[in-house]
C-alpha cells in the first residue's frame, strides 16, 4: 500500500495524456505569439534602467529646483527680499525706537547670498531708513496712530527702497 516514491508509476493514463496533448498544443500556439526579440529588448531595457539610478549623481530637491530657476527670477527674488527686510526695518524702528532693531532682520537675509551691488543697495537703504524713522514720534505704536504726513514719509521710504533695488 505504501509504495516507495521511486516505485510510483510515472506514466500518464491514456485519457489524461490525450487531453494534455490537446491542451499543450493550444498552449504552444498561444506561446508562439510571444515575441522573444521584444521580450529580450524589454528585459534588457529594464535591467539597464534598474542599474542606472545608482550611477547618476543625486541632487537635493532644493538644489535641483534652484539650479533650474532663471537668473532674472533669482535677482527679482533677492530684490523682493530686500524690500521686505527694509519694510521690517522701518517697522522695527517705529516699534522699538532704537537702532538695535536693525541688526535682527538684516541677519535673516543671509548676506552671503548677495552680490556687491545688492549689498551696496542694502547699505544705502538702511542709511536712508534712519532719517525717515527719526521724524516719526517714538510714541507711535501702530499704523492707525500715524498722522498723514508720517504715513506719507513711510510710503516714500518704501518707494525709495523699491526704486533702489529693482
Amino acid at each position: 500500500m505504501n509504495a516507495l516514491p521511486n516505485e510510483l508509476p510515472d506514466e500518464l493514463p491514456d485519457d489524461v495524456a490525450r487531453a494534455l496533448r490537446a491542451l499543450d498544443a493550444d498552449a504552444a500556439r498561444r506561446a508562439e505569439r510571444v515575441d522573444a526579440d521584444a521580450v529580450a529588448s524589454g528585459v534588457l531595457a529594464r535591467l539597464r534602467e534598474a542599474a542606472e539610478p545608482a550611477s547618476l549623481p543625486r541632487m537635493l530637491p532644493g538644489r535641483w529646483a534652484l539650479s533650474r530657476v532663471p537668473g532674472w527670477m533669482r535677482v527679482t527674488a533677492a530684490a523682493a527680499m530686500i524690500v521686505v527686510v527694509a519694510g521690517s526695518l522701518v517697522l522695527g524702528v517705529f516699534r522699538s525706537g532704537e537702532g538695535r532693531a536693525l541688526a535682527v532682520p538684516v541677519a535673516a537675509v543671509g548676506l552671503e547670498s548677495l552680490d556687491a551691488k545688492q549689498l551696496e543697495s542694502l547699505l544705502r537703504v538702511t542709511a536712508d531708513v534712519r532719517p525717515v524713522a527719526t521724524t516719526v514720534e517714538l510714541a507711535s505704536r501702530s499704523w492707525d496712530e500715524l498722522s498723514e504726513s508720517q504715513l506719507r514719509a513711510v510710503l516714500q521710504a518704501v518707494q525709495q527702497v523699491q526704486g533702489e533695488t529693482l
Binding site: D10, D26, A27, V39, A40, V43
Partner: protein
Amino acid sequence: MGAAVVAVADDGELIARYQTGDEHAAAELVQRHTASLARFLAIQGAPDEELDDLVQDAFFKAFRGLASFRGGSTFRTWLLAIGANLLKDRRRQWKKRVVVELTSDVPDRSGDPAAEAEAGWTAERLSEEIGRLARLQREVFLLRAQQGLDYGEIAQGLGISEGSARVHFHHAVKRLKERIR
C-alpha cells in the same frame, strides 16, 4: 582548413558572460527559453494579453536574482519556478481564476468531428482540474508531463526532495484521472 565548428554556449556560460556585462548573453538566454516559459504559463491559464508581461517579468526577476541562483537546478527550471510564482501572485491580483478557453482550432488529429469535440471537452476539463490542483502538485505535474523535466531537476527547482516530487506527481495524476472521466 577544417570545417568551422560553431560552439554553442550552455546556459551556465551565458549566465557567467551576462554577469560580466555581456547583454548579448542575456538576450540569448531569453531567446532560448521564452517559448517553454510562455507555454508553461499558458497551459496554467495565463491570459493571452498577460503572457508577454509575465514572460518579461519572469526573465527580469531571474536576471536580477542571479546572485541567488546556485546552479543546483538548470536555469530553465529555475526560470519556470519564478514564472509559476509570478502567475500565482497575478492570480491574486486578478481576483478570479482564469480558465483557458480552448478555441476550435485545437489541432484535429482524428479528422472525426465527434472525436475532436470530445478531445476538446476533455482538454477543457483537464485545464480546469489542473487549475484546482494544489500548487506543488500542479507545478510538479506540468514540469514533468509538459516540460519533460526529470524529478531531480524538478526537486531542485522547487526546493523539495526528489521523493516528494514523485509523490506530488502521483497524486496529481490520480486526481486528474478521476476527475476527467
